[in-house]
Every structure is written in C-alpha cells, then in structure tokens.
C-alpha cells in the first residue's frame, strides 16, 4: 500500500450508487489521487433496482454488475470488498476495519446507505423472513419461492412494490400486509391512500389493509401444503405463503460513525455541500440528511437519481468545489388516469 506522501488518499465507505459514482468522479477530478472504496459487499457495484430480475430467470451475478472488473483496474479504484468499517477516528483521519486493519485517509466520503428496517415487535421473526436488499438475499428468496408461489409482503415500501410488479408479471401471487410504511419513502396523505391501494389491487396485489406490523402476532415456519410460512394476526386471522418479505423502508447505516465526532441525527448530518460537521468528511446517498434552507430542517432525499447525484456532488466538493445540493428528481406519487401507480422512485436509467 505504499503511496507517495503527497498523494491524497480519498476513502469512500460504500459501493452503492452514491459511493461508486463518487469514486468515478473523484478519479476524474483528481487523476493522481488514491481512491479506495471500502464495502461490505462481496460483489462489485450493481444497481439494486435490477434485483427483481432474479424472478425473471436472471441468476448469474455477472449479469448484474454495472461495470466489469476492468473498469476498476483502468480507473485505479481500489475495491476492498467484504471489509466492514467498525469505526472512524476523525481526528486521526483513520478508519478501523472490523478485521483490525487501520486505514488512513485524507478525505472520507460515507456512502453506507441504509438497511432494511424491521419494526421492533417483528424482529424476533427475522430468521423466518426473506429480506431483499442484496444479490445474495435476492437469490436466496428466489430459490425459496416456487413457480407461481405466494409471497407475503410486509410493509410495502416502494422497493417492495417494485418487486411485486415483477412477481405478478412472472405469475406469482403477492399479498401485501399494508401498514404505515406502505409507499415509503413517499409520504402519503390519508385522503390519497384509498386511491393508491385501489391501484395496487388493480395491479393484482391482494392487500390486507389495517393489519399492519402491529397487528401481526407471529410468523411460523412449516405449514400446510406447499406453503412454508404462516403469518398469524392478533385478530386470529392467518395467511399462508412461501416466503415472508419485509419492506418497511430503510434505516441509515451509521453505527460505525458513532463516536467519530461528526453529528448524527438518524442519518449523518451534512450541509448543502454534503460536508459533515467535520472538515474532510462528507456523506452522500441514503445515509445522509441534508440541510434544506427552504424547509429549515435536515431531511433525506431518496431515489436512485438523487443518490447518484449526491455521490457526484460530494466528490466534486471533496476535490475543491463548493456547489450546493439540488434534488435530481421529484418526489410525488401519482395514480394515472388509467389507474396505474407512477412513482419517480421507479424511474431509473
């Protein structure tokens, strides 16, 4: 790891959309700098919106990669996979990896995204649920759901609903146990909700309204027929399915930043230039809350285009820029005239 003393070392935590875009921009802005990505992932960057394709028969991980290995070699982007960051020492400009290796940085971009949220009362049933936030999880779920199988979706955020579209398209059955997180990250008013639920039903989703996560008594394994999961509600009703998938939105992955010296609310707090409260440490993507002058509060901006734009902006600012954040996509959820749901969250390149 010998590098010349005067070469800046930019470290990016996370190889999602934000981290990957940032690394590319950093390389363009600073051809001589050292750029290293640290990530938990065992695969190179892939777009997670592609994951539902596993139900269309696309199972080889190579089909999912956004760029081939050559891309990283050519750009001299160091890719440290399976490397969990355990802590950051902002003062010493040092990162401690879980396996006890220390990495020094000149600037740090935290793009660690978020992980699937599961309400406290359901957390004991985690082992019986099939999350869907990585290629591996997607493959495990896909291997578990038989042809024309039945998926019980809890929560129903926009990530889950996107998957539901594919599941229905591939002749699976989807039952949505709707709750407060349905349509997350969109904020949906009480008056809009019936129309949106009707649109879901029109799509072919069986919606169990009112039985939100708080209404679930237990999830059990082993049930009648082919089904291998039973969801038991507090009112005594029950549902049988092949898998139970939680889609309750995301919580930012910030635990390794606790004690680092930067301010955290739910996400990492950043100014409009995406800088945290520590000079030299930036954040981008689902992990950060950006100060909105208009709204006078720190807020999240979700969606693939937003996240990518954040990665790009943070990198340019690390390289000396000072541009402010401008959202790259709108946030409203519509039902079209013919009764279909339309979300900017579902628009990607």
């Amino acid at each position: 790891m010998a590098t010349a003393k005067n070469v800046r070392h930019h470290v990016v935590i996370g190889s999602g959309v934000a981290g990957s875009q940032a690394a590319e921009t950093l390389r363009e802005c600073e051809p001589d700098a050292r750029v290293t990505i640290l990530t938990l992932s065992s695969l190179l960057f892939y777009n997670r919106y592609d994951l539902p394709k596993v139900f269309r028969g696309h199972r080889d991980w190579r089909e999912f990669l956004a760029y081939p290995a050559e891309y990283y070699r050519e750009r001299r982007i160091g890719m440290r996979r399976c490397s969990r960051v355990a802590g950051v020492d902002a003062k010493r400009r040092a990162i401690l990896l879980d396996h006890k290796e220390e990495i020094r940085f000149d600037t740090l971009l935290v793009a660690s995204g978020g992980r699937g949220y599961v309400p406290e009362e359901l957390s004991e049933f985690r082992p019986l649920m099939h999350p869907f936030s990585s290629y591996t999880e997607a493959m495990v779920a896909a291997n578990e759901v038989p042809d024309r199988g039945h998926v019980i979706m809890l929560g129903g955020d926009m990530i889950g609903l996107d998957l539901a579209r594919t599941l229905l398209d591939t002749r699976h059955r989807v039952t949505l146990v709707a709750g407060p997180q349905t349509f997350w990250p969109h904020e949906v008013g009480a008056d809009e909700r019936p129309g949106l639920v009707a649109a879901l039903e029109k799509m072919g989703i069986e919606v169990v309204e009112g039985a939100d996560a708080g209404g679930i008594a237990s999830i059990e394994k082993g049930a009648r027929g082919l089904s291998s999961r039973r969801v038991l509600f507090k009112d005594g009703t029950e549902l049988y399915g092949d898998v139970v998938m939680p889609f309750f939105g995301l919580v930012p992955s910030v635990e390794f930043m606790l004690g680092s010296g930067v301010d955290i609310e739910r996400g990492l707090l950043v100014n409009p230039a995406l800088r945290t409260t520590n000079e030299g440490i930036y954040a981008a993507g689902d992990v950060c809350q950006i100060w909105s002058d208009a709204e006078r509060r720190y807020r999240f901006y979700y969606g693939w285009k937003n996240v990518r734009a954040m990665g790009d902006l943070a990198a340019r600012n690390i390289a000396g820029g000072a541009d402010p954040w401008v959202p790259a996509q709108d946030e409203t959820l519509h039902v079209t005239a013919d009764g279909n749901i339309q979300s900017p969250f579902w628009e990607y390149e």
Partner: protein, 596 residues
C-alpha cells in the same frame, strides 16, 4: 463437464499447509480425479517460512501446473498475499475473516483481492476453536469449507483425514469436527465463484492400480519393483524422502539400507555392493553429486553397475535447497575426471520416475556402468495420479553371465567383445576370480597403461553404452503434437517437459503448427531420433530451468543446428505462458493475432 481446477493453499510452516494439501489431493484422487501437485517448503525452521500446497485436479490428463489458480486458500496472509494475483478472474480467495492482532494497512488479504476475484472471508480460527477447543485444526476447517463450497463429498475427505491421522486418534477426531465446522459454514455461504467440479472419469484399467504418488515415492517404488538389494545414502533436500521411504520399505523385503557419514562413503559403498553383485543405489542432490564424482569414475573404469538418483535444486554450492532448478545436467553427463561416460536418464513426470527408477537397475546391470537418474525438486515433490501395471515392468536380472571356461582358460572380466560388453562374474563365483581396480587395466583386470590398452578400453567403455539407446521397453525420446514439418518444435527434458507439452497443445489450439519432443535418455544421446525431429522444425525452442542452457549445449554438441534457448532460474517451475509466448514469437505471430 471436464474438470480442470487448480487449488493453492498458502501458509506458514506449522500451519498444516502441506498436511491440508496431502488430505485434499488424497480425497480428490480417491474420488477418481487426476491430480498433479507440487508443494513448496521453506528452508527455515517451523514458524517462519512459507509453505505452499498447490494442486491441479483434472479429468483429462494434464502435464503441468497452471499459471493461475482457480482457488487460493490463505492460512497466513503475510505469506499468501504475494500470491493473490495468481488467482484467475472469477476464481475464489478464501482467507481468515478476522485478525487477533492490529494490522497495518494492507496487512489483510482483503486488501489484495483483485476486482475480478471473489472473496470468501471465513472465521477459520474461531471455527477451529469452537469445534476442537484449539486453533490447530485451522487447516482442516478450510478443507471443510472448500468441500462445502465446491460441493465435494465429505466421505472422501473423512477417509483421507482418517488415513492421515491413522496413528493419532485425538487428531483424527479433531480433524472430523473441524472439517464439519468448515463444511457447515460453507452451507451458509453463497457461492459466487465459477469453480465447478464435473464428475470424475474412471481410469481403472483391469488389474492395474491407480495411486496418488510423488516423484520421489515413484522412484522408490520403481527401485523396489526392480529388486533393489542395498541402499547407501546421506540425507539432502530434495532427495531425502527417497532414503526415508526406502528405510521403511527395504527391511520388509530383506533389503539393507545404511545411512553413511557422507556422500563419498555412500557412493563408495554402492560401487562396492555393485561389484559384489547387488542391485545397489544411492540418492543425492547437486552438492552430493559433486562429492560423488571421483567414485563414479571408479564405477566407470571398474564397469560396476551402480545407480544414483539425483534430485536437483538451485545451485551452485548450498544454493537454494528448497527451490527447483535443472542445473546439474553438465555435472551428471560430464562431471568427473577422465573420459568417464555413464548413462543419464531424466524422467519427465511421476510415472516416468517409476519407470526410470526401475529401469536404471536393468541398464546399470546390462551395460555394467553407473546410471544417474536425474530429476529435480519440482518432480521430487510433485504428486500425480499414476496407473501402476499389475506386474512390475522390470527385468529381475539383466547381467551377462560368463559361460563355462575352457580348460586352462582364465576368466577375463574386461574381455573385448563385439558389442563391447564383457560377461560379468560376481566375486566368489567358482573359477571366475578377477581383479577390479581404479587403474587402467587389461582384459583380465590387471594394471596396464599401454597406449593400445587404454585406447581399446576407452573405446569399450564408450561404445558399449550405445546399446542403451535400444534398451527394451524404455522411452528414450518421444514426439507429441503435429506430425511432419512444423513451424516450431519444442525440445525439453525433465520436469519442464510438462509445461512444454501444455504450451505446445495451446499453441496448436491457436493454429500454430507445433510439436514437442521429450528426451529422456541424455547420455548416451539419442542423436538420430532428435535430428529427425529437428529436421522437421523450422524453429527449435529449448526451454529449461538453468542459466547456461545446459541441455541446449548438449543438444548442439550432438546435432549441429541452431536453437532458441528459453532459460529461467527463478527457483520455480517454468511458466506455460512464457513458453507459449516464445512459440508464438517464433511462429511469427503478432500480438494482435495472439489477442484474437
């Protein structure tokens, strides 16, 4: 689906790297795969040096190790990290997930895995400690993980583990538990690499046995099957295991083995035993061969059957004891004073070690001369699956016995005959009393340094060896690849020939007209056969592991034709890619064509 997978396990001395390799190749060979493997040991004591167990597992016959491995297992990152880039794209790197000590940047394997390779962090130490109460079974944990990841049957491993620890019940039990722990962990690991085992192909020939065996073990087996009576030796890397194995096996068959005080004593005793009629041998490496040079001359002038197994290592002097090299060819063929011709044969693979190991005794006896079997560390330590015939393919007695003497005639031990080979009496045979000394002699063996006698005896000692070029059931040289005229012909010897063969096959795959010839009999040199081959080749390439081009020198002394030399002295086997690049260059292939 044909299987062609190379696995490298890298660790520190004391990690059980070589033992893990032994179990793995035993299990795979037991399942019916062909295995070629080559272990690298450190010259240093336990706890310091690097150990590598590297093996190639195939369904089709392979001839060498591959340049890139499909799987790298690290038992010690500090040693394994320099080998990370030897893993092919989409190959797997298996390593210890955590560290118990603070690491500097780059001190962990995860820092060195290329973007095209697939990382598998495994809590190796933790699994070993949980399953066995100690971290000593880390090597078996990784075998369990490998078996689970690559979907290999546990039974084959359990058998191999039981065999490895057959006298250590506690170790066998710990091994079982550690293996299961690794395998269970693999069951929770999502497989991402594209390393896939196809079904093994049955190679069982009626009556034959298939065994996974090293070059040195094959030499021993050949010697035993040829009826070796006595062995004298002094240990030296990489030949030591020849003596060690014989020490276990010979007493069971009524043979005798003595560890002498040095190599001079060993060769002296061998020549003495040969004189007394025994099938006798010694084994050594370059430095020992130097010490034996004088006494080998005694064997030549006394026309005493004697066999010397030489496993070469990096030289000169103590040189590189644990690195391979082919730099003792000059010494083997020419070493010593006076005109002292001898037979030198050099097998090119483990099967060849078995055959040369036995045939050496036939030849020594038939042509009444020292025979050197020249191998190298790469071949000594290389394991291959070998098919052994149901009956040993060696003659028990090739001695030309004297007939009945006419009344009043005196037995002439060095009688000048038409084929220059004299009937040989064994001391003690009634009426065939004779003298053998280091002095030039007449037919009776009495000292005689007249010009005529020295000329006649010199001719005899050289000419008699020509018959060895027709020695029955022996491959003196062999051509592979395209028949008739070719653009490039590759000629090589010893362990390097496997790489040459692989390169030649690849070159043909690229449309280059190419052939390869192995030369097993180095002295006397099979000039006719080699000349015929070279006449067919527009260009001749001679790859070998020495700086001088010792085989190329020998070749050009016998066949006056230009050759292109390819020499490497890295201490490692030759790289197939290097030979292939040279073939392409000689065939006039441009880089663009190569890429296409």
């Amino acid at each position: 689906m044909a299987t062609d997978i190379q696995i490298s396990i890298v660790g520190s001395a004391g990690d059980g790297t070589i033992a893990a390799g032994e179990i793995l190749r035993g299990a795979l060979a037991g399942m019916g795969y062909k295995v070629i493997s080559f272990d690298v040991y450190p010259p240093e004591i336990r706890g310091f040096g690097k150990c590598i167990a590297r093996m190639r597992i195939t369904t089709e016959q392979a001839y060498s190790l591959k340049h890139k491995s499909d799987v790298l297992v690290s038992l010690d990152d500090s040693h394994a990290i320099p080998h990370a880039d030897e893993v092919r794209e989409c190959g797997a790197v298996i390593y210890e997930r955590g560290s118990i000590v603070q690491l500097p940047e780059g001190g962990h394997m995860s820092a060195h895995i290329g973007p095209g390779q697939l990382p598998y962090p495994v809590p190796i130490r933790e699994l070993s400690e949980k399953s066995t109460g100690a971290n000593r079974s880390r090597n078996i944990v990784v075998l369990g993980f490998l078996a689970g990841l690559l979907k290999l049957p546990a039974e084959a491993f359990q058998k191999a583990i039981a065999k490895k620890f057959k006298r250590k019940a506690a170790a066998a039990e710990a091994g079982e538990a550690a293996f299961r722990a690794g395998q269970d962990f693999a069951a929770q690991t999502f497989k991402l690499d594209d390393v896939l085992f196809g079904p093994p192909v049955s190679t069982v020939v009626a009556g034959a046995t298939v065994e996974m065996i090293s070059g040195n073990a094959a030499i021993v087996r050949g010697a035993l099957d040829a009826g070796i009576d006595t062995f004298f030796g002094y240990p030296i890397t990489p030949a030591t295991s020849i003596m060690e194995r014989l020490a276990t096996e010979m007493p069971k068959r009524g043979g005798r083995l003595l560890q002498t005080e040095d190599e001079i004593a060993a060769i002296s005793a061998v020549v003495g035993a040969g004189f007394a009629g025994a099938r006798a041998a010694t084994s050594t490496s370059g430095p020992g061969l130097s010490l034996m040079a004088e006494m080998l001359g005694m064997g030549v002038i006394g026309e005493v059957p004697s066999v010397v197994f030489v496993s070469q290592r990096g030289g000169p002097s103590t040189g590189m004891p644990t690195k391979t090299e082919q730099s003792d060819l000059h010494m083997a063929v020419y070493g010593g004073h006076g005109d002292a011709p001898r037979i030198v044969i050099a097998p090119t693979n483990v099967d060849g070690c078995y055959r040369c190991g036995g045939k050496a005794f036939e030849m020594a006896e038939a042509y009444q001369t020292p025979v050197i079997v020249l191998i190298d560390l790469y071949l000594s330590n290389r394991y291959e699956t070998v098919v052994f015939p149901s009956r040993p393919p060696f003659e028990a007695d090739t001695n030309r016995k004297p007939g009945k003497l006419a009344a009043g005639a005196q037995y002439k031990r060095f009688a000048l005959t038409a084929d220059h080979i004299s009937p040989r009496a064994i001391p003690g045979e009634k009426g065939n009393m004779h003298v053998v000394t280091g002095l030039e002699h007449n037919e009776l063996g009495r000292p005689n340094d007249s010009a005529e006698m020295h000329e006649a005896m010199s001719r005899k000692r050289h000419e008699k060896l020509k018959a060895a070029l027709r020695h029955p059931d022996f491959t003196h040289f062999k051509r592979f690849g395209d028949e008739g005229p070719v653009d490039v012909g590759v000629i090589s010897w010893g362990s390097t020939f496997g790489e040459c063969l692989e390169a030649m096959i690849k070159a043909r795959g690229e449309g280059i007209r190419c052939a390869a010839m192995k030369v097993v009999m180095l002295s006397p040199f099979p000039t006719h056969g080699v000349t015929a081959f070279m006449t067919d080749c527009k260009q001749v390439l001679v790859p070998e592991l020495n700086y001088q081009g010792q085989f190329a020198n020998l070749l050009q002394a016998n066949v006056a034709r230009p050759v292109t030399r390819l020499n490497r002295v890295s201490g490692e086997p030759m790289k197939v890619e290097d030979i292939l690049d040279e073939i392409r260059r000689l065939a006039g292939r441009k880089a663009a064509q190569k890429a296409a």
